[in-house]
């Protein structure tokens, strides 16, 4: 399963945050911390498992916990139209 950020979403990294602009609705979203890291990994077109692996290296948390939190976060992004699932 792959997650993609559509071309209609504009991403800009600013200091410790990442700003996402949905160019269709012109809504802005700001993410920092883990959210920022996830968006950066999504931008690299990694699979879910690859993202989990990367996050576990960064945060030294068990993979099952990461997977659970990641899926919840991805659901929230998908609901806002900021990612699409392949």
């Amino acid at each position: 399963m792959k997650y993609q950020i559509p071309q209609t979403v504009f991403i800009q990294e600013i200091d410790s945050e990442v700003i996402l602009l949905d160019t269709q609705t012109q809504e802005y979203f700001s993410l920092n911390g883990v959210g920022k890291d996830i968006v950066e990994l999504l931008s690299k077109n990694l699979s879910k498992d690859e993202i989990i692996e990367e996050l576990s290296n960064i945060y030294e948390v068990d993979n099952p916990q990461i997977e659970k939190d990641l899926l919840n976060f991805l659901k929230a992004l998908e609901k806002k139209g900021l990612i699409v699932i392949d």
């Binding site: 504009f10 800009q12 602009l21």
Partner: protein, 351 residues
């Protein structure tokens, strides 16, 4: 930083020079030395610029896509494209509009394609429209969010002696990537020539324009032999060299072997005047700048053409001010004199 007493004035100055994002990003690690309420305002201003720039860039991408889908050749320059190329992102420069170079014969087709979202600011009569297309060099359209796009068919006013009309900016165009999208822009060498001449024509009233030249040279591959080929026999050469001179003085920019030692005392006198305008010792207006602007023209003919354009030749402003029938067009000449007097003397007295 401890010597700054007027922080609000400082921030306002950075903003007016178009370098606020750079100033903010440099100073934020010294936030502890800045009054808290000032820094909070600075951060808010910066985020406002970031969001506005992102919105404008996304609009540019959408518009370019529409043009491409309809077979219209379009080259983006300045704005987000320059920001991305010279600064690595679209948020490090201040820009208030978008600039796209197109062929003149495509203008009305473009206006029609975008009519659902973009409108002209001015409604013209048909005779004014005929004049406008003769005198203007761009079509300005604005959307409901206030985003303004200028579709240029020449880089500069063809009535100005420095107009670069002989350069085909479409030739050797390159692509830059913004948000994973390819955007066409002008070649590095032509872009550099354009930046220098654009800034010089305004006598660098914004420091941003010198920063742009420095950053462009430092980040983009510039073939100085190609630059020399473009500029060597052109009447714009001194305008071009002034930009290089300023960036060398301010930022010690490496200008390559062609231009390292190319500057005589005349550039220093112009530099001194520009710095005086930055320091507030002199105003940056036509009256104060005229003497220095004239130094940049190579020939007397160009100087006379320039003076004629500034002081005598009617512009679209006069044709817009009052819609005279064609037999009375000669009255636009005294009208121009009246409007100039009003602008520089009567309005000054009112103030």
């Amino acid at each position: 930083m401890n010597k700054i007493e007027d922080w609000e004035g400082f921030v306002s100055l950075a903003y007016s020079h178009g370098i606020f994002p750079l100033v903010y990003r440099t100073l934020k690690e010294y936030a502890h030395l800045i009054p808290e309420y000032i820094f909070a305002h600075m951060k808010q201003n910066y985020m406002d610029i970031v969001k506005q720039n992102m919105l404008m860039t996304s609009e540019l991408i959408k518009v370019i896509k529409i043009l491409e889908e309809n077979g219209i050749e379009a080259i983006s320059f300045k704005g987000p494209v320059l920001s991305q190329m010279a600064y690595g992102d679209v948020v490090s420069r201040q820009y208030c509009d978008l600039d796209v170079l197109v062929q003149k014969e495509e203008i009305f087709k473009i206006e029609n394609l975008l009519k659902n979202k973009y409108k002209r600011a001015l409604k013209l009569t048909s005779s004014q429209e005929d004049i406008w297309i003769k005198y203007a060099h761009d079509l300005s359209l604005t959307n409901q969010n206030g985003i303004n796009i200028e579709f240029h068919w020449s880089m500069f006013d063809s009535n100005h002696p420095i107009n670069l009309l002989k350069i085909n900016f479409f030739k050797h165009s390159i692509k830059t990537i913004i948000n994973n999208q390819n955007i066409n822009t002008i070649s590095n060498e032509k872009f550099l020539v354009y930046l220098c001449i654009h800034g010089s024509k305004h006598l660098y009233e914004r420091i941003e324009w010198v920063c742009d030249i420095d950053r462009f040279i430092k980040t983009q591959k510039v073939d100085w032999d190609i630059v020399e080929d473009i500029i060597k026999n052109d009447n714009s050469k001194k305008f071009f060299l002034l930009g290089l001179f300023l960036t060398k003085i301010l930022f010690n920019t490496d200008l390559g072997k062609n231009y390292e030692n190319h500057f005589d005392n005349e550039y220093e006198s112009i530099r001194s005047h520009i710095f005086d305008t930055w320091n507030g010792k002199q105003k940056s207006d036509n009256k104060n700048n005229m003497k220095y602007m004239l130094k940049l023209f190579v020939s007397k003919t160009d100087k006379l053409k320039y003076l004629n354009k500034i002081y005598f030749k009617p512009t679209f402003t006069e044709y817009w001010y009052v819609n005279l029938p064609k037999p009375l067009y000669f009255l636009y000449y005294p009208l121009r004199q009246y409007l100039l007097l009003k602008k520089y003397f009567f309005n000054k007295e009112d103030n």
